[in-house]
Subunit: 160 residues, 6 copies
């Protein structure tokens, strides 16, 4: 059985929580495509290119993964690439309803694509990209939560 | 990649919600072993044998599945059979914390085994075996929620 | 429009929270039948008769209400009496999933009967009969939470 | 007993979930007034007129309903029209706290007006207007979730 | 033991819920410093000065409290002032995850500073500053929820 | 300010999560009395004496703590000993409502006693005594979650 999975997100920026999910998924599926949302209506801290470069550098130790930019509906991308699974990290209660809404909707739009939830290490339970941006802005030490290349990019961005 | 997954539970009795989860999982993993808990401290409505027979009859249309009785820790069984994934249905909020507690604990006991959460069809969101037992006891019609063999077993058990 | 509603529960014992819900409902529906669960598998603190007597005394200031014992499925009783609404108090998060499970199941069993949720005064948010029994057992003052007749019955029961 | 109820919302646009709630409420109350929020600080996708026209077309099979625009506090409108009930759909956990906050506040502002919660069919559990707008924007098929006139309006709005 | 605690927030405006928390905390700690967030990226209804003046007037009956403006990370302020506790009100479920995220993050940044949660009176369970601003805008009576000086400031601000 | 706090619980057995809470509390209050529930209606795994001995051994590195057996209402004990604070660990969502119910009720019974919630390290988020008993029964390694003396007692109890 050779299942392709996609792991969609904004990754603004990628955190150690995302990487933990990818490491768990890499042992379960043949290939995992990280699909990075290009959402014109949001203004991310990092550009499309910056986010993609940081992801690729952060995941190159996980052999069966790759990263691409993407805009549109996740299920459309899944169908186009033949992916049978959408991977989502489920960290805390606040994720629950949004993720279930998306999973049910995606199931209606493409029943052959399954949403698969993985839980990160509990030390990442309350971690998300928005918190990282906020902490970095105030010059707090986020070494524990992001890969090196993201740490450098944050330092540069906020000019500390 | 040839991943074996286990799907643990008490299945007292198996419901259409369980079967929906298994159908989703069957497209993602090479083999799925339904492990039926033999818990001496609980008194199930159906005996070990009754539960196992109903499960086998209910899932024989899903080729890459099998069912076995099991007592002890789920991760020990996973390690013994070489399973790399534990499948759990995540239906509603009330499942959330118990499932996360179990997943984190299992991760500590056996980091190489991943807990994979799948969401059933929303029509099974509020369905569980305990509700089925309760409804059947009052002679309510549960045709929509359980396979035929379970329906017959419930009728026999409650003598309606 | 002349709608009959039922308000099911165990009422072991009735609390001011229950009465608050009934007062709210009494302005919305023609008649409200308090249906008191006679559940042979549970051992309530108060007998069927004791509970019924306390309810009747506590609600006799609300003209369009009455109380009866009942065993079986709530929807069966609703259909038999022509009730179109089942009233449920929704106090706190912990009520949420159980109540939704019941409401969905009852909707499937009898689509013509609607479950109507009312919210009690916030001072009753964390009040329930089980807490009252527990507090009374330790001789705590529960005057604020139950009607007079219940207060007396608790004092007698626990012999303080 | 002749109770008038109001069903307030933004309805941008009305969905089958809203209509399901209205159909349930129509059997319980004498008249139901759908009050459509005219909130100058938000920019809805559809104008006041567009929303009102779509609602009226979608609910004209439910005899005891009508729809009006409204700005201000919901309880003020309830008092002015003599409504004794405010109807709210309670779908999922995320609704819970906001709805309870509103219900408690409205109870303080106008104790004679009751908030009545109804639960939609479980297939609408994760449906809301914002999700519909998002899906329609990406050209996803939302036929199952909105009435025909809304489907057409969305197609026109997004020019697919 | 002489413990200094800080009570951070935006206080736009201070409510009776905040004051309730402070009254509870004042019996537990030697001194409580109310730190008022000066967040340049948000536009509060009341200016820094207005908020500070209202807080000082509202808490001058609680002897061991003081109020200061502050920008930056709360833990940095705690360390600078030698505070060993951060006080947070925990009212309802919606506070839970955000507060836990903050508490865990602050613990990582400064392990010697403890986050202490207090629960306000249940009549303030669903109260927050944003609701007060919204109600005042529509000329609803908020006398029960804010101190006198805030009531006057709201009346002036909205020109009723 | 010299505040005595009590930390009530069943402690069957004490875990590293409890100890983490006590270490946090020890820096905030003058003295902390661990009150161990003697609940005749429950049958704990460990006797009163066993639990008390394990607690005392586990907390003797925290100077301002002591442990005593206790039966009855926690607030009665607080009043008798002059304690002004009840300490509770708040780990996860499932604790939330029960703890709030208790805190509100205790506030009504004794307004001068405050309930103070502390959050343990996130690695103890999903840890509780019941899980420990369950895991130990199946011979799982719980070294990471309990102090040495508890580990030995569990081994002896389950005869592995």
């Amino acid at each position: 059985m050779s299942v392709i999975a996609i792991y969609p997100g904004t990754f603004d920026p990628i955190t150690n929580g995302h990487i933990d999910i990818l490491e768990r998924a890499s042992g379960l599926f043949e290939k995992i495509i990280v699909t990075v949302a290009n959402n014109p209506s949001k203004t991310p801290l990092f550009t499309d290119d910056e986010r993609l470069v940081m992801i690729r550098e952060s995941i190159n130790h996980i052999p069966n993964t790759e990263a691409v930019m993407f805009s549109g509906l996740v299920v459309d991308f899944a169908i186009k690439t033949g992916a049978k699974a959408i991977i989502r990290g489920l960290r805390a209660l606040s994720d629950f309803e949004y993720e279930f809404q998306m999973a049910l909707m995606n199931h209606k739009l493409a029943p052959e694509v399954r949403t698969v939830f993985l839980m990160p290490n509990e030390k990442y339970t309350y971690l998300n990209s928005s918190l990282i941006r906020q902490l970095a802005q105030f010059n707090a030490d986020v070494t524990e939560f992001v890969p090196d290349c993201v740490l450098q990019a944050l330092t540069q961005k906020f000019g500390h």
